[in-house]
């Protein structure tokens, strides 16, 4: 999970996004500006010494918005920011009792239009790529397409909340029952009922365009077409599908929305979209778009798809006997100066015992120092060689480095 986070943040930096640290504990009033009643209810809350209410953040876009409208208010827009950290919810979900999840995300604030939308989507995909995911898919939709449809079908005012609620629950049985009550039936009705099926390549935009008769939906379609073209330029034609039936948080998202999926994970790995209304609530009007990656889900997928733990995450395990300890410490310091990962044993060991110890700590090379000015060197795939201690560094520095993250992360169980 850490490895996924690090690789995603490194990718974001390559796109020019600056890392910001936002608080995990926020004033409830601040969070209330961006959350709906249900989301507010699911926050862990506590009382401050002066009686005001605080809450642990359930997502990290709102704290970033506050930062941009507050401490960074003098910074010129657009701002490209990224973050990582825990989020908490009282809703323990069905599958786990864990209430803490980890997210890494990015926000592009102060830029509107398809160019910014495509940048954020492409970066999200590259982050999944950088995390090592080889199979993924991004679904791109537009929240205004649905809003336009709702306008278009002249829904009686008393049915509107029910229709929205049914769609939010993805309950198409209830939706059909509600739409049956509306007096007029149009092509747009049918479109609403076929919602989950309105998905595919650019041809779906033409199909949708023939059926909608309202400006809002038409504008959404033309924006989606442009984003799709730009994603082609970003080199992502294959992984992108257009999904006119994408429905998420209608009151929050104001434009292009997207979700990233991996193989055999029942839930999205990444989610994002345009939220042009949020910043104004903090007193600095600005269009914005962004996304976040669910690190827990992505990490779980990576664990399932990589074979066993990464055994050689250390470059060098340095063992010693009798008077070899000081040589060992000096050698480790030199290797670290060359950027290698090195561990010095805490107790003396014979060469035979050291070979077993190397396996246990998972190192590419074993160096055994006995104080004679010479080192025994065993690489993973070769026998033991002896060479002068001062030549070890130059030998190792030219070889490929260990890869992999923290031990235990890749295999889940520890080494």
């Amino acid at each position: 999970m850490r490895a996924t986070q690090e690789s995603a943040l490194a990718e974001m930096r390559r796109w020019g996004y600056r890392y910001v640290i936002t608080p995990t504990l926020e004033s409830l009033d601040v969070l209330a500006l961006g959350l709906d009643a249900g989301e507010l209810r699911r926050l862990f809350k506590l009382t401050d010494a002066d009686g005001s209410l605080l809450a642990l953040v359930g997502e990290r876009t709102i704290p970033v918005a506050r930062l941009v409208a507050g401490r960074l208010r003098a910074a010129p827009l657009p701002l490209r920011l990224c973050y990582a950290g825990p989020v908490l919810t009282t809703d323990s979900g069905r599958f786990t009792r864990r209430r803490e999840a980890y997210q890494v995300g990015a926000e592009l604030i102060g830029a509107s239009g398809p160019v910014a939308d495509a940048e954020v989507i492409a970066m999200a995909v590259r982050c999944l790529d950088a995390a090592g995911l080889r199979q993924y898919q991004v679904d791109v939709g537009h929240s205004e397409f649905f809003q336009g449809l709702l306008d278009g079908i002249a829904l009686p005012a008393d049915l509107k909340p029910g229709v929205k609620a049914a769609l939010a629950r993805r309950d198409f049985v209830a939706l059909e029952a509600l739409l049956d009550e509306t007096p007029l039936r149009s092509a747009e009705h049918e479109l609403l009922l076929r919602f989950p099926a309105l998905r595919g390549g650019p041809e779906i935009l033409d199909a949708g365009g023939k059926l909608v008769r309202n400006r809002r939906s038409e504008r959404a379609l033309s924006e989606l077409a442009r984003v799709h073209e730009l994603l082609g330029a970003h080199g992502l034609g294959q992984a992108v599908a257009l999904d006119l039936g994408a429905i998420r948080d209608f009151d929050y998202y104001t434009g292009v929305i997207f979700e990233g999926y991996g193989p055999d994970v029942g839930r999205p790995l990444a989610q994002g979209g345009r939220y042009d209304a949020l910043l104004a609530r903090f007193g600095r009007e600005a269009p914005a778009t962004g996304f976040m990656i669910h690190l827990d889900r992505t990490g779980e997928l990576m664990r399932r798809t990589t074979e066993g733990p990464e055994l050689t995450w250390l470059d060098a395990a340095i063992a010693w006997t009798s008077s070899g300890l000081e040589d060992a410490i000096r050698l480790a310091a030199s290797l670290r100066m060359f950027g290698m990962r090195a561990v010095v044993d805490t107790q003396p060991r014979s060469l035979a015992a050291a070979l077993a110890w190397r396996e246990a700590v998972g190192a590419r090379h074993l160096l055994h120092l006995a104080g004679s000015g010479r080192a025994a060197w065993a690489a993973a795939d070769r026998g033991v060689r002896r060479l002068p201690t001062d030549r070890v560094v130059e030998q190792l520095a030219t070889l490929p480095r260990a890869v992999g993250g923290v031990p235990g992360e890749a295999g889940g169980g520890g080494l």
Binding site: D171, F172, Y261, G266
Partner: protein, 207 residues
């Protein structure tokens, strides 16, 4: 290969019948009952407890599932509810002892004590009425609870009303009407669109 979770119990026969009519899989009850997991014509059918169908689908272990609406009330989740399959019709009702002074909601006490397996649907319904309620979670033989004075009323499913009559209970209110539904995992609709949509269409046409 796509997979569908179907429930044991009263919905099993209707589920197998529908899969057969949709041309998806021809399975007899005994075969699936013995094996729990059968793969045929690149469709994997898994047999699970009715209350577990939403869990299998929400987690993506099954792309699709047949589930009673009564189970969906208890497990709202990330799934799409696509079709009303029409079979397995029953009502979720509020029932009291025949001799009870209670009738419709206006006669209920300031706090009603209710026994049920459907805690979530019950509390939502009672909250909608503005009726304070104390819920006793039961797991079986719900009819017994009012007879021995454990609760004022029960909220339970009934198809014909026979079990209620046999236990000298009478219906005083209806919470909802349930039928079998087709549910789908949200990611399956995106990552396996074509094969999932094809099966959904065949099921829709077989209704």
């Amino acid at each position: 290969m796509i997979s569908i979770a179907i429930p044991t119990g009263v919905l099993l026969e209707g589920s197998l019948d529908l899969l057969r009519r949709a041309g998806a899989a021809d399975l007899d009850q005994e075969e699936i009952g013995r094996k729990l997991l059968v793969e045929k014509n690149s469709l994997r059918v898994v047999l699970v407890k009715p209350a577990d169908v939403p869990a299998y689908v929400d987690h993506g272990s099954a792309d699709l599932g047949f589930a009673g609406k009564d189970q969906l009330w208890e497990s709202p989740g990330g799934h799409y509810e696509l079709l009303d399959l029409g079979f397995g019709g029953c009502r979720l009702i509020v029932a009291v002892r025949e001799a009870s002074p209670l009738n419709g909601p206006e006669t209920w006490p300031p706090t009603l004590r209710v026994g049920t397996k459907y805690a979530r649907a019950t509390s939502e319904y009672m909250a909608g009425l503005g009726q304070p309620v104390e819920i006793v979670r039961l797991h079986g033989s719900v009819e017994l609870a009012p007879l021995v004075g454990l609760v004022d009323a029960v909220v339970d499913l009934t198809q014909t009303g026979r079990t209620l009559r046999e236990n000298r209970l009478r219906v005083v209110a209806e919470v909802g009407h349930s039928t079998a539904r087709l549910i789908a995992n949200q990611a399956s609709l995106k990552t396996r669109t074509l094969s999932v949509q094809q099966l959904v269409t065949r099921i829709r046409e077989a209704l």
